[in-house]
Amino acid sequence: MTETPKLTFPHPPARPDQSPDFSAIEVPEAGILDVPPLDLTSIDARPYANGMVRVLNDAGEAVGPWADYIADIDAEALLQGLRDMMTMRVIDQRLLNAQRQGKTSFYLQCTGEEAIGCGFQRQLSKGDMNFPTYRQQSLLIAAGYPLEVLMGQVYSNQLDPLEGRQLPVLHSSRDYGYFSISGNLGTQYIQAVGWAMANALSGDGTIAAAWIGDGATASNDFHSALLCASVYQPPVILNIVNNQWAISTYTGVASGMARTYAARARGYGVPALRVDGNDYLAVAAVSRWAVARTRAGHGPVAIEWFTYRVAAHSTSDDPSAYRPKDEALAWPLGDPITRLKDHLVLTGQWSEERHTQAEAQIRDEIIALQRKVEAEGTFVNPKPISPATIFKGVYAEMPPHLRRQRQEMGY
């Protein structure tokens, strides 16, 4: 018991000079939580917000009620999920390399988190809209977004639908349900709530899905979103990707003494679940449940995806300065690709050889595609866009002062 007030400062379990240590992270057994009714209330969501939905156990088996809930997802669909994740990872590797070669100014990987976007997106329907952050490329992969367009954006080249306006990875696609990404953290969260309100008002049957990182839950817009979702009950899924880090800052600085981010959401009266984000089956199951609930008009739901940021924050970051080098290896929830692969091998739907083969094939395809994309321009070898494009789309119609400035520019 303290005697005088002293401040606390949350610390990660280990720093670079220490061994990774995740002993404080409780990993509940797979399969122990029920599938709640679609109209789950925030009060009844308590065990889901403080616990963790997991389907794949350590042996690689799919167990418990949530496994049953998605028993109809067949081998083909699971293999597609595996391929989505593998594709994502290869693209991350290739574009990271491209950045190292100076072919793009910036890149940012989602390594270790592939299951979340890949598994979630496959449960959405056409017309649904994601409001992603910069680390949700996996949604685009699973949505079937043309990879050359995705890469073109990263190279800011002729294939970039944004004509070089945005930083690499800040994609935008109305058709593939991917809202224009802001560099300002958090802003998309309340926008998703507004979009979902419009969905409800127009009765078009579509829903919205907001995405945010654990660090950015500290933002004001996270609060606004939870609050307004609780007040108006629009069809929105509020996803929180807790990957333990926000650049160099440990997740404890964003959570404080709160048990989980899901519990924080529950404080607003929004039902919330915490889910093993490295378990493709758990992701698929909870996503399917959440989408069904939301589409049926039971109001908002929050999901905390528990995962680990394996890569650096971005190409501007070097995590060895603030966390143990092999912390990712110690992560108790494993690697999402390995876990799904092991499950499929165990159940006889896949084999190690086919996996190795598939890996090589995906890599080759992407390398070939990448060459084609790079021919359309890279950072070191650009095919310039007219500078006048700067003035395009500031407004729907160009006002006189912009016309004068464009002339001043020489166009």
């Binding site: 935008s172 300002n184 926008q191 709530v193 817009d221 006002p399 002062h401």
Partner: protein, 332 residues
Amino acid sequence: MIEALRDAMDVMLDRDPKVLIFGEDVGYFGGVFRCTAGLQKKYGEERVFDTPINESAIVGMAVGMAAQGMRPCVEVQFADYVFPAYDQITQEAARIRHRSNQMFSCPLVVRMPTGGGIFGGQTHSQSPESLFTHVAGLKVVLPSTPYDAKGLLIAAIEDPDPVIFLEPKRIYNGPFYGNHTGKSVTWASHPGGEVPEGHYSIPIGKADIRREGTAVTVLAYGTMVYVADAAVEQTGIDAEIIDLRSLLPLDVDTIRASVEKTGRCLVVHEATRTSGLGAELIAEVQESCFWHLHAPILRVTGWDAPYPHAAEWDYFPSPARITRALHQVMEA
């Protein structure tokens, strides 16, 4: 002006099912200035509703709705309370069209009462217009008559891009000529108070020459148009008074034509002087009319201090201050 604004929203709610009105106390009650009175009753709660007290949430929701295709027209209770929403307005609403290369757009209106003159103290009196005119992607509008208020608000709601709509609260109920001890005038007895029924709009980007003249150009907007009127009347100087109405984009053509004619220019606004809109007006005028200018362009503005409660009239740009400046510009 309140009725004109309400009328504009009424017309648009009626014409376009995508138009939505929301903000703090705007629903059941109809707004603390009564601008939305009766609209919830008429159009239902799904079209006109109350929000939590969070301006960034109000605008953030509106951004999402607008991107989806709705036409939200939201109220911020006082312009002084817009700052929590400043990020959503300047980094989001203003940017979404451009950054998505027109895949998404953001047709929304943020209405807010602005300016002093009601003894509101520093948090019910500010004029933040220049904090928005610096932001590419926004339009900024500030009417000075009920007629303009209705026509410009309709134009703002119909505009494909985000519009900051500032309402000079001192003239909500009638013109104000700067004499706070005088008797108050209502719009009923003023030509600008006549408001046609139904739909009409006034293009954003066009100034209005309120008074033609040849001696000096006075650039003003909102309440200051009337205070300038009064000062010009007092001096007998043949000033041309331009009511800007649209602060971004500016009607540079009208301004230039006038200053080329008069060769002198005075800018009047209530906002804090340094980096106020007056600075931009002066920069623009001196650049485009330099060879016509007979005297330095002066500005009469609020002081570089918070708006005081009790000493409000010492802060407010008075007819006396404008008169003095007019003489100064004419003498030079």
